[in-house]
Amino acid sequence: MTTHDAGSALGADAGFGSTPAEPAPLKPRRWRAWRRSRPFWGGLLLVLAGLELLAIPLSGILIHGAIKLVIYIGIGGVFGVLIGVLLIAAGIMLWVNPAHRAFYGIVGMTLAIASFPASNLGGFFLGMLLAIIGGALGYAWTPMAAAPVAAGPDWPASFEEPSAGLDLITGTSGDAGPMAHP
């Protein structure tokens, strides 16, 4: 039994060692898994909408001094900046915290509608449309219930591990393990 334990441990090591040997497929696969496990496109559209809403009034921050620009813009422009920042935050929160996707989706769509009177006609319609679509995508995203199926193959391996601990406790084969290793 202990030989089998050592073998499985080696096998696990070999499994870990073999994956960096082919890094090319690993990274896209992880990126893909990250994307698919959350409302990625909804969040991305919200972030883009926020950036677009910010870009129209704030590209002049490079032209004017920041303080002068704020004096020029006044309270209306501050609302526009606020909406842009909140849209970016809602998009990022959709990625970080997909469990609350319905809330962030609705927040995104509400901000989109508010941006029309408050921020350059919703960034000349573009930002408003991006945010409505992004918010609705975030709201409509649903995780699949495929997790138990995927966990299935891992079960035998996890059953092996308690047996190793059991051997250590009983002490019957504590020395035999390293000796039996070829």
């Binding site: 898994a33 990250w34 698919r36 496990s37 959350r38 409302p39 496109w41 909804g42 677009e52 129209i56 009034p57 704030l58 590209s59 002049g60 921050i61 490079l62 032209i63 004017h64 620009l69 004096i71 020029y72 813009i73 006044g74 209306g76 422009g77 609302f79 526009g80 997909p98 989706g105 609705i106 769509m109 989109a112 509608i113 029309f116 009177p117 408050a118 921020s119 350059n120 006609l121 919703g122 000349f124 319609f125 573009l126 408003m128 409505i132 679509i133 918010g135 609705a136 995508l137 709201y139 409509a140 995203w141 649903t142 995780p143 699949m144 219930a145 495929a146 997790a147 199926v149 995927a150």
Partner: protein
Amino acid sequence: MSDATSNNTQRAAGKVRWRRFAIAAVPAIAVAGTLVGLTAEGAIASSVSVSGKAFTISASQLSGTGFEQFGGMVTESNGTPHPVMVSAIHDAHLTNLCQSVTLGPITLRLTAGDAGTPVSAQNMIVDADSQTGSSAVFSNITIGQDAGTLTEVPGITGPAGTFGQQADGVTINNLSQDTWLTTAGTFTLPHLSVGFGGGC
């Protein structure tokens, strides 16, 4: 959702349920469309603040009360300085307003105030590097006043010790200007229409 079992990636994947998407998006677009409609009728004022070079404004007539003008300087992001003329109007009415904005590859063209009711703007400030008009009428104009002491637009003054001018009233015909920065506290845009392509 019969295709839920087709996926066998280890992480919990997800998908967009399009009926749910429609439930969310359709009301939002309906509300947004109502807002657009009300704005196009001039019932709702909107806040406009644009900066950047590729922004042109033209109007067949601008008339306003409370006018200030002074010189200023803007610096491009690469450090090139440009002299500009800062015009501030407390209460402006613009007939046949046309604004064109270039957003990357797209040029958006926005027209309003061409069906009888002029566009009105409060506290409009324009930094223009070229400004032309076929004729201009100023009432009670003061030319050569220190730009730091201008009073016609509350809260807006130029750099102290520089040239400035102000007037009680202003009327400019066939206005056209290339601006670096335009902002207005509120813009009311009756008969608004937005299209792609083509400058003003």
